[in-house]
Symmetry: C2
Subunit: 250 residues, 2 copies
């Protein structure tokens, strides 16, 4: 910081530049691991917060990621492009494809579904207009490349979906939306509402993320052509695993 | 945790229930402040992480909020409902309204805009298809109720907007989109891409948030009717101040 011509760039940006250059040159390729925050503060003779900001820049560029308790690693997991309008379009599920296929484009995937008939929680019952009635609940955790990336719980009015494959673990080609369509209640429009926060301990365990990795909470409501709400879906996404895309007309 | 019938609810949920009941009864209304994490660990004889999770539940319910260095307060700021499709619709700006008006619905607001002609950064130039050319950059920080809520930087091809009010601080009724429309390049469609992460130090200062309050990064591209990109807008939102809404057909 002695030469005024060089002092324009904050120290944390300089450190980020140096670390980026090392990453690009393959310096950490063998182990995939960066030096600890502590070692970096010593090497660069910088404050902890300065090193954190430098790492924050590289994290924001998707070059590195933190793993709970074990340090900072080169990032290998490519963000999943979740293109909401495309993935939920009739032309997608109407052709027998899973919503999920649109996100993962052939990447490795696992999921485990539990399906239960339960009393509707107040908030869900209010949205679906089925207070005091039962609903079918479908819960699952999605994994890709052995990494949990999303937890979701979806709810359907029991009077509507009783007897359909929506009450089974395997809903068949095109999934829930194709089955709703077959009974005359296929989605005509959707509403997604997003909030973002840090996870609770239990949530961080479910998603295998640190307590300082934000989660994106999405509540989707699907409406049929007569504007009846036919699904409420509460999702919790590991923010580090996703980029969300929304396209719409003016 | 002695009575098995009561032991089903995790301890942090019990503490959250107790604190919620106190909030509802007005126990903290006079000062608007809750006891410190430390005091709560003593009062409830609970581990720090247990108290944190309890507060995390209440934070997730928008009942409380943390303020950097000074503790936990009753939340008074109501989340801004950012309805992307509505706020950016031609019927909105075409009627001379500001995009911003749609979000705030008469709430108190301030903003300060800086407008400059600059060389296009690589990424922006790539999206706008104007490599090596100049662009007009409009930067601003939005406030509502004295709280900074969003920082945004938008870019426009200089050859397109030269001589229009887009190069002025005050763009007039309907803002930038109405002006683009007047020169035959009004937005026909939009693409918003979202990522979420924790802020860098400087970012947390700009938005007046703690380092553990996530930010939502939105990059919007607006396309005219011939599919030319006419705007790139990079936004950083205080995640605690917003709920995002997207509506779209199946």
């Amino acid at each position: 910081m002695k030469d005024p011509a060089q002092s324009k760039r904050p120290r944390y940006v300089e450190i980020a530049d140096e670390l980026r250059a090392r990453i690009d040159s393959g310096a950490y390729a063998a182990t995939g691991k960066l030096p600890s925050e502590r070692d970096l503060t010593i090497e660069f003779d910088a404050a902890r917060n300065t090193v954190r900001d430098a790492l924050g820049i590289l994290r924001g560029e998707d070059l590195i990621e933190s793993r709970g308790g074990s340090g900072v690693y080169l990032r290998t997991f490519e963000r999943i492009p979740r293109d909401a309008v495309e993935r939920l379009s009739r032309k997608h599920w109407g052709a027998g494809r899973a919503v999920w296929d649109s996100d993962l484009q052939g990447r490795d995937r696992q999921e485990n579904v539990t399906v239960e008939k339960v009393d509707a929680p107040d908030e869900v019952a209010g949205t679906l207009g089925v207070r005091g009635e039962q609903v079918w609940r479908r819960s699952r955790v999605y994994h890709s490349e052995k990494r949990p990336i999303q937890q979701s719980t979806a709810w359907y009015p029991a009077d509507l979906v009783e007897g359909t494959a929506i009450t089974k673990r395997n809903t068949g080609p095109g999934g829930v939306y194709a089955r709703l369509d077959e009974i005359g209640h296929g989605p005509a429009r959707y509403r997604e509402e997003l909030k973002v926060r840090l996870p609770l301990s239990a949530e961080s365990k479910t998603l295998g993320i640190t307590l300082s990795t934000p989660v994106i909470l999405i509540v989707r409501t699907a409406y049929d052509s007569s504007d009846r709400p036919v699904e409420v879906n509460q999702m919790m996404l590991d923010a580090d695993s996703y980029r969300l895309i929304y396209t719409f007309p003016s």
